[in-house]
Symmetry: C2
Subunit: 230 residues, 2 copies
């Protein structure tokens, strides 16, 4: 029974880890709420367009909200370089093999951002639809991206990432005419798991849907500011 006992210990340790993570996440969220800073956790597969969307968002938002970013990657600092080029205060977390970010990593990274000058901080999680869904990072809102070349069935295959999202962004819709992707079916899958999820169709390339996404960000930022007043 050594094996069963080992497995039991593993389950216990994972539970403790998740509990500790929740506590840190809660502390971080409160701190940002007090500062009036909206925190958004972005989840997706590798290459579904998180950084490109952030670039487009920063360009469009610059006069309305001041943006900062925390970028999680297994290796490389490429996203940091891309966003710094836009003048975005950014911190790169290189996890060195870890498949997700945890709240403690984000809390530490936050010390290196000038949050007193920011209105919104985006966390680009590690590109992975499985593990990151388990860990809250103190975000006020969670966004999961699904790019059309991935196929609409990914919603059902990786349900936790879509069930826990406040908004699902269907990205790269400029490719719809070149790939098999049924938008209606995708929306049906998303709402079957998560009836209240906002769904926004986007192309950072053509600008399609960007206005809707920016309105959502402004609405969420207002929501955080109202929480401070309460």
């Amino acid at each position: 029974m050594a094996n069963a006992e080992g497995q039991w210990k593993q389950v216990l340790m994972l539970e403790r880890l998740l509990q500790a993570n929740e506590l840190i996440a809660e502390r971080l969220r409160e701190r940002l709420t007090d500062a009036g800073v909206l925190l958004i956790n972005m989840l997706s597969s590798p290459g579904s367009g998180k950084t490109t969307l952030l670039e487009a968002t920063v360009k469009a938002l610059s006069d309305k909200l001041r943006v900062g970013a925390i970028l999680g990657d297994v290796a490389t600092e490429r996203d940091y370089e891309r966003l710094s080029a836009y003048g975005v205060p950014a911190v790169q977390i290189v996890t060195g093999g870890e498949c997700h970010l945890e709240a403690a990593m984000v809390e530490q990274a936050m010390h290196r951002l000038p949050i007193e000058n920011l209105s919104v901080v985006f966390i680009e999680n590690v590109g992975n639809l499985v593990c990151p869904a388990e860990f809250r990072l103190g975000e006020h809102f969670r966004v999961t991206l699904l790019s059309v070349p991935e196929g609409e069935d990914k919603v059902l295959k990786y349900p936790h990432a879509f069930r826990t999202a406040d908004a699902v962004l269907i990205t790269k819709v400029d490719l719809l005419e070149h790939v098999r992707f049924n938008v209606e079916l995708a929306e049906g899958y998303i709402h079957s798991l998560n009836p209240n999820a906002r769904v926004v169709k986007l192309s950072a390339l053509t600008g399609y849907g960007l206005d809707e996404w920016l309105s959502l960000l402004l609405e969420w930022h207002k929501d955080v500011l109202q929480r401070v007043e309460l």
Copy 2:
């Protein structure tokens, strides 16, 4: 110091888990080598085209190699249904939250395949470029897919999956004219990490590169048959 001790225990447990996995993987590989069955472990992001490539492979190979499949998914049995429609003996492993397959899961699934009638078994790992790279599943050869919409920088961002691959398949090349993807740069990144990796450019939609991929499979199958003779 309770925290440091906890972390140390976690590292120890992960090491033991990986060691146990290696032993099972080795046992499984030997069993399949003796049976003359080529075992291939396929890694990729969600939606990079593993199942579509398998469908095309089965259609093209039917008179040359008899194909079986083991399909790993966090949820759903969709890939099982897709491949069964082609008459492929297939077993679905639904991991229920786990982000990767382990050798013990594959060994158990193998009991439900008629391996005495097969020449090659493909394992479709969970769509994830991080965790699956750590776990050997008894494969003779490992294949990592990179679809062009993901961008060539994913090679550097998820290096372990590309460093440990025997072949890297650049998929969906029919989309090259619609997305930013530099094939030469991708090949350079792959070979900087893994000088001996074979790189095959593929489109399961148009059939581009399929012949090269099928030749590689026949060559690998021959290689396994020769191991039996040794």
